[in-house]
């Protein structure tokens, strides 16, 4: 995790986002232990207070659980995992559609474009 953060967005949210993605992609699995605050701070080169805040945010959303004296773990609750997966998907779609609409593309063009792209992509996979 050496890739850098954007300096103009809150780091704790960017780090939370990064961890959410790792959980959804399966890089971090249900029940996995997250690095300690200090380890995470050193490896991502951010302030330990920031990591603390990220962990608090993630805990509030239920995606991770902190166990006293043991550390922070990815939840094994399927409902929460599914809802985060769904939430990230919605966010990406919203961003994409927003950009396309801003450039003046119509819904039909977008769906057709997506369809063609995905079919073409499937052949190359």
């Amino acid at each position: 995790m050496t890739d850098t953060f954007q300096s103009s967005q809150p780091i704790y949210l960017q780090l939370a986002d990064r961890l959410n993605r790792q959980i959804v992609s399966g890089e971090l699995k249900p029940g996995d232990k997250l690095p300690s605050v200090r380890e995470m701070a050193v490896s991502s080169k951010v302030n330990p207070n920031t990591v603390q805040r990220t962990y608090r945010e993630l805990e509030a959303s239920g995606i991770v659980e902190s166990r006293r004296g043991q550390g922070t773990f990815v939840t094994e609750n399927e409902d929460i995992l599914l809802s985060i997966r769904e939430k990230l998907k919605q966010e990406q779609i919203e961003n994409f559609i927003q950009v396309m609409h801003d450039m003046g593309y119509q819904n039909q063009e977008i769906t057709e474009g997506l369809q063609t792209y995905l079919e073409g992509g499937a052949r190359h996979d």
């Binding site: 850098t4 953060f5 954007q6 300096s7 103009s8 967005q9 809150p10 780091i11 704790y12 949210l13 200090r38 701070a41 050193v42 080169k45 951010v46 302030n47 330990p48 207070n49 920031t50 805040r53």
Partner: protein, 229 residues
């Protein structure tokens, strides 16, 4: 934890700081930015008790700062002030005799982390390695306040990187307050909780960095350019 109340500091006819009010809390890493001569070093020396305000007061934990604050404050000055004939180890040992709060095990741990040879004489150290030595000596003291005046200045990027990582690893962000002045904002912006801008002796702004990003979608550099333009 640290409070400046209407602090003015004059040297002869020159006003270094003017009517500064400032509150700093423990458990934070705080950056102090400003052009040369803006009053950064003066601010640090006032907290360290090395100089006294001409007007107003500086308090640490509710008590007026005096020269005896040395027992609560670890101050890394801009200058190199170590005995050149000592080795790294001897310098560490010497510091351990000077400060009762000096943790020799921690010093050894940081020295190893920083990859600094214990037996090299200070006079034979490169500038980068002298920078590392300063960090070891400053961080090894178990004190509530760490003041670092330009800890990255004049050092190459690799050394700056190891110093920043050293700060993340060895500062106790639960208990210690770190105030550091720097021109190398890019290197430290991810580790700062707060940032303070001084201009011509006046405190212009003091911000929580994550709030600045959240409220204004601004990084420290953009914020600074809006101040110093």
């Amino acid at each position: 934890m640290i409070e400046f109340k209407d602090v003015t500091k004059r040297y002869m006819t020159k006003t270094a700081l003017r009517d500064v009010n400032l509150k700093l809390d423990k458990g934070k890493i705080i950056g102090l930015v400003g052009l040369n001569g803006a009053g950064k070093s003066t601010t640090m020396k006032l907290i360290a008790g090395l100089i006294s305000p001409t007007k107003g007061s500086v308090e640490l934990d509710g008590k007026k700062v005096t020269r005896r604050m040395a027992s609560k404050v670890s101050y890394l000055s801009e200058l190199d002030e170590y005995y050149s004939f000592y080795t790294v180890q001897q310098t560490i040992d010497f510091f351990a005799t000077q400060f009762p709060d000096f943790n020799k095990e921690k010093a050894e741990e940081i020295r190893a982390y920083m990859n600094l040879d214990a037996n090299t004489k200070v006079k034979h150290l490169s500038k980068g390695n002298r920078g590392r030595l300063k960090i070891i000596l400053t961080l090894s003291r178990e004190v509530p306040v760490l003041l670092m005046d330009e800890p990255l200045s004049g050092l190459d990027p690799l050394v700056r990187d190891s110093i920043v990582k050293g700060l993340i690893t060895f500062v106790d962000t639960q208990k210690q307050l770190v105030l550091l002045s720097t021109h190398q904002i890019m290197e430290v912006e991810m580790i700062l909780d707060e940032v303070i801008a001084i201009k011509d002796g006046v405190l212009v702004d003091h911000r929580d960095v994550e709030e600045l990003r959240y409220d204004e979608q601004k990084g420290i550099l953009e914020w600074m350019s809006s101040i110093y333009e």
